[in-house]
């Protein structure tokens, strides 16, 4: 009996989780919450939220055409839910797009800067216009509840036929233009998918998907509210859909034959398997099942067909939207959990609004009874608050909001990790340089590095005690510690101090006041410097001023040390090439960057440390 309420509670929790992720998305940028990259600029949010979302909402124009153009009045009872699904679907698309756009506040630029060559421009405009049409088409439904709106309602009802025609025309345009988007990428999209007739296949599959989506939505809400499911109507829709799927199958295969790409079908690459999988679940299984009368007449059978077909076409959109692009190199894009959460949250929001509308307005012929709105229901006792929750509405409100905040808080806790703080820099532990008189320095062991003539450098800087020219700080009891000991990460600054060792029962049992002054906050600023106790830590002639506790990244440390000296030496040695990259990186790969010698440490300092950051000038 609490089917509806439990479903809504789950929806609210998903939205709560989504709210936390959304905060991170707008605070830290796209990189923090998505697996998108320079190779994979479009991911789940475009492939599913936008492209599939638009296609999923195509039930609206298919059914309005059936009822108002082809005048098949028996479908009248499922037109309203179909229009509502379409309306909410398009709103969800717009909301999903706001997450995906890098600069969502500029989305209105589409209205003032026109580029008539861009298919995306056309899609944007059509979606905007069709959203307006859908609003006008659906407006009479809530309006019939309010008397003062009856005039507008009457006017809109008269306008219905032109609106329906405009809606169908607009849908035709942008459903197919979503295919046109990819016409410009003949070298990226896999040849099994790329075709000059992509607009046509997109349009046809959208019709099939619209029929399947109406079936799914009708059956699911029927189950949810224990409503009588309109199987007799859906059977007819299924009967129509099988021809659409058959047509789609024929066009896809025929297109491959015409373009002479059938040879690709037998390969062993994963794309080929993906193509077959997609085609089987998008067209073959639904078509076969729909030709069986028993399947068409059972709710379970129709549901199976609907779920298979919807999954298949969504997969098709995700594939074309980026998954099967060739130029992505070796990297396979899989959406991050945060991307999935946002997607689900957008859908959950749309579903909640759908249920809200369905419970309050006459979306179906028979309005479902909202179990929460039952007036003779007893108040519930809440064990945590040990209080009575009052009437069912209040119970629902209390529970949903609780679910929402708990999910949001869990989201915040899960997000507060390294991925956000390191800003996409993966920790790479720096490794010891290897070799004897000549050292091979490649801290990340990728094979590209610098051959360092250790003995010659020592000799040239005056031999003897000249080690201190470079070795500026040593581990306690050590004389020439390796760089990697303190500069322990390739690209991230590291903590060179071990607090837990100094004051732990297993290490040094130092009392707090031995390093921290009494009466002052115990922070790194007020603590003793390392060399106040370890007086052999820093050689007296060290040429480098040591930043104690914190060590810059290995790459920065090496560049700083070498290039500073090489720049100085270039003048007396009359060798302007001395500070250049290739002087050390001989014939090897570029170490990504050698221009800004001293890294912008403030961006990264302290992110991975146990202590508060050292203030830098």
């Amino acid at each position: 009996m609490n089917r509806v309420r439990n479903f809504k509670l789950i929806l609210w929790m998903i939205i709560g989780l989504g709210a936390a992720v959304a905060t991170a998305r707008f605070m830290f940028g796209l990189g923090a919450v998505t697996n998108l990259s320079d190779r994979v600029p479009w991911g789940l949010w475009i492939g599913f939220d936008v492209m599939s979302g638009v296609a999923l909402a195509s039930g609206g124009f298919v059914l309005t055409a059936t009822v108002y153009i082809f005048k098949l009045d028996r479908f009248h009872s499922i037109v309203r839910p179909a229009i509502l699904t379409a309306l909410l679907g398009y709103i969800a698309v717009a909301v999903g797009l706001l997450f995906d756009l890098g600069l969502p506040w500029n989305i209105w630029h589409m209205m003032i800067y026109w580029n008539l060559h861009s298919p995306l421009f056309e899609v944007g405009w059509c979606v905007m216009l069709y959203l307006t049409v859908l609003l006008l088409e659906f407006f009479p439904v809530p309006a019939e509840k309010y008397g003062f709106l009856s005039k507008i309602r009457g006017f809109l009802t008269k306008l219905r036929l032109p609106l329906v025609i405009a809606g169908i025309a607009l849908s035709t345009l942008h459903q197919s233009s979503l295919g046109s988007l990819f016409l410009i990428m003949p070298y990226n999209v896999h040849p099994l998918w790329y075709s000059p007739i992509m607009p046509v296949t997109f349009f046809i599959s959208a019709i099939g998907l619209g029929l399947m989506m109406v079936t799914f939505e009708s059956l699911f809400t029927g189950w949810l509210y224990r409503r009588e499911q309109e199987v007799d109507l859906l059977e007819r829709l299924g009967a129509a859909a099988r021809w659409v799927f058959l047509l789609y199958l024929a066009i896809r295969l025929g297109d491959l034959a015409v373009r002479d790409q059938l040879g690709h079908l037998s390969g062993g690459e994963w794309q080929v398997k993906m193509f077959w999988f997609e085609l089987v679940i998008v067209a073959i299984i639904p078509t076969v099942l729909l030709f069986i009368r028993a399947v068409r007449r059972s709710a379970a059978g129709l549901m199976t067909v609907a779920i298979t077909g919807v999954t298949g076409i969504v997969l098709n959109r995700i594939n074309v939207g980026g998954l099967v692009h060739i130029n992505r190199g070796e990297t396979l894009y899989l959406p991050a959990w945060t991307e999935i959460v946002i997607t689900l949250a957008v859908i959950a929001g749309a579903a909640l609004v759908f249920l809200f509308m369905a419970e309050r307005f006459k979306v179906w012929e028979i309005q479902p009874v909202d179990p929460d709105a039952d007036p003779i229901k007893m108040p519930e006792f809440h064990p945590v608050d040990s209080s009575w929750l009052g009437k069912p509405e209040i119970v629902a409100r209390t529970k949903y909001s609780l679910g929402f905040i708990i999910a949001a808080a869990v989201g915040f806790a899960l997000l507060s990790g390294e991925p956000l703080e390191s800003r996409g820099v993966d920790p790479v532990p720096a490794q010891q340089a290897r070799g004897g008189d000549t050292l091979w320095i490649d801290g990340n062991l990728d094979g590209y590095g610098v051959e360092f003539l250790h003995v010659r450098h020592w000799y040239r800087s005056g031999s003897g005690e000249s080690c201190v020219e470079c070795h500026h700080m040593n581990l306690p009891l050590d004389r020439n510690s390796g760089c990697y000991h303190c500069h322990s990460d390739m690209y991230l600054p590291a903590d060179a101090f071990r607090h837990d060792w100094h004051s732990s029962p297993t290490g040094g049992k130092l009392a707090c006041h031995e390093c921290h002054q009494k009466g002052v906050v115990r922070a790194v600023e007020s603590a003793k410097k390392c060399d106040e106790c370890h007086n052999d830590l820093i050689p007296s002639e060290a040429s480098i001023e040591v930043e104690q506790y914190m060590a810059v990244s290995y790459a920065d440390a090496m560049h700083h040390l070498c290039i500073d000296c090489h720049t100085k030496e270039a003048v007396p040695r009359e060798n302007p090439d001395l500070p250049r990259c290739t002087t050390c990186h001989k014939g090897q790969r570029d170490i990504i960057d050698a221009t800004v010698l001293d890294s912008d440490r403030r961006n990264l300092t302290g992110k991975r440390t146990l202590l508060p950051p050292i203030h830098q000038e």
């Binding site: 830290f28 940028g29 990189g31 923090a32 998108l36 990259s37 320079d38 190779r39 600029p41 479009w42 055409a65 108002y68 153009i69 082809f70 005048k71 009045d73 756009l101 890098g102 600069l103 969502p104 500029n106 630029h109 589409m110 800067y113 580029n115 060559h117 861009s118 995306l120 421009f121 944007g124 219905r160 025609i165 169908i168 025309a169 607009l170 233009s177 046109s180 988007l181 410009i184 990428m185 003949p186 990226n188 000059p196 060739i326 130029n327 190199g329 996409g424 690209y491 790459a555 250049r580 290739t582 014939g587 090897q588 570029d590 990504i592 960057d593 050698a594 221009t595 800004v596 912008d600």
Partner: protein, 256 residues
């Protein structure tokens, strides 16, 4: 129309061009991020040197196509081809859809994935400098003249002259002369450069042409579909009226 010609046989891989570019545009230090591609181009590296086997170096940068796919794809005109032919970016117009990144056949545009306010980043051929008659930073500093700047026609002629003079040394092809309508960054080389397009040969047909036919069909499709629907609706409605003849008003319009 201005152009850059890069002769990979002359490149010694010193990366002075990379440094000059970063210095001129005050680009931040870039460290390998999760989202970086392996070719070295990032939102903070607009050009990079790719090392190929046998110490061959190839400089990668925006090709400044004559008919650029990115310009045609951008829905808000944020990417434009200016009078010198440089494909420049107007960050105030951009809405961040990243269609340009998808559309580019060379995979050039990069994105500020870690920024709250991210922009598309790529080489802009030092547009404001070349319009003043100056050189781009990269060609200015190249110590071996491996990458040179000039008028496109002259550079193509020069490229063919070099190939002709040294037929054994070069592959007989000027990369960028015809591919996808030609580009303003040209290469001559002794190694195959198809790795710049992920091993795929590019045709000569400009990419914008491929969407153009679909875009031209838009008004016809709209009017056609609209009138088709109106026509069918009218015919069916009339037929139903005739069938029901003497009966009451047909259901449909007012009933709902």
């Amino acid at each position: 129309m201005k152009a850059i010609l890069t002769d990979t046989t002359k490149c010694i891989g010193c990366r002075e061009c990379v440094i000059a570019c970063k210095t001129r545009y005050k680009l931040d230090n870039s460290i390998p991020r999760r989202w970086s591609a392996e070719d070295g181009l990032t939102a903070r590296n607009w050009t990079s040197i790719i090392e190929r086997p046998d110490s061959k170096y190839v400089r990668k940068q925006c090709r400044h196509c004559i008919e650029p796919a990115c310009v045609s794809a951008c829905p808000v005109n944020a990417l434009q081809k200016n009078k010198d032919g440089a494909v420049v970016y107007d960050s105030s117009k951009c809405m961040g859809c990243r269609y340009c990144m998808m559309a580019c056949p060379y995979g050039i545009p990069r994105y500020d994935w870690d920024r709250q306010v991210p922009y598309v980043r790529k080489c802009i051929l030092c547009a404001e400098y070349i319009s003043d008659g100056k050189q781009p930073a990269c060609t200015e500093v190249c110590p071996t003249e491996a990458t040179i700047f000039g008028e496109r026609d002259e550079l193509i002629a020069e490229a063919h002259r070099r190939i002709k003079a040294n037929p054994g040394k070069y592959i007989n092809r000027v990369w960028g002369e015809h591919e996808v309508g030609g580009s303003q960054v040209l290469y001559i080389s002794d190694i195959d450069l198809s790795f710049l397009t992920y091993g795929q040969p590019l045709g000569d047909k400009p990419l914008p042409d491929r969407t153009a036919s679909a875009m031209h069909a838009v008004p016809y499709a709209f009017v056609g579909m609209g009138s088709l629907m109106a026509g069918i609706g009218w015919v069916i409605g009339r037929r139903m009226k005739n069938e029901e003849g003497g009966k009451d008003k047909p259901e449909g319009e007012e009933n709902e």
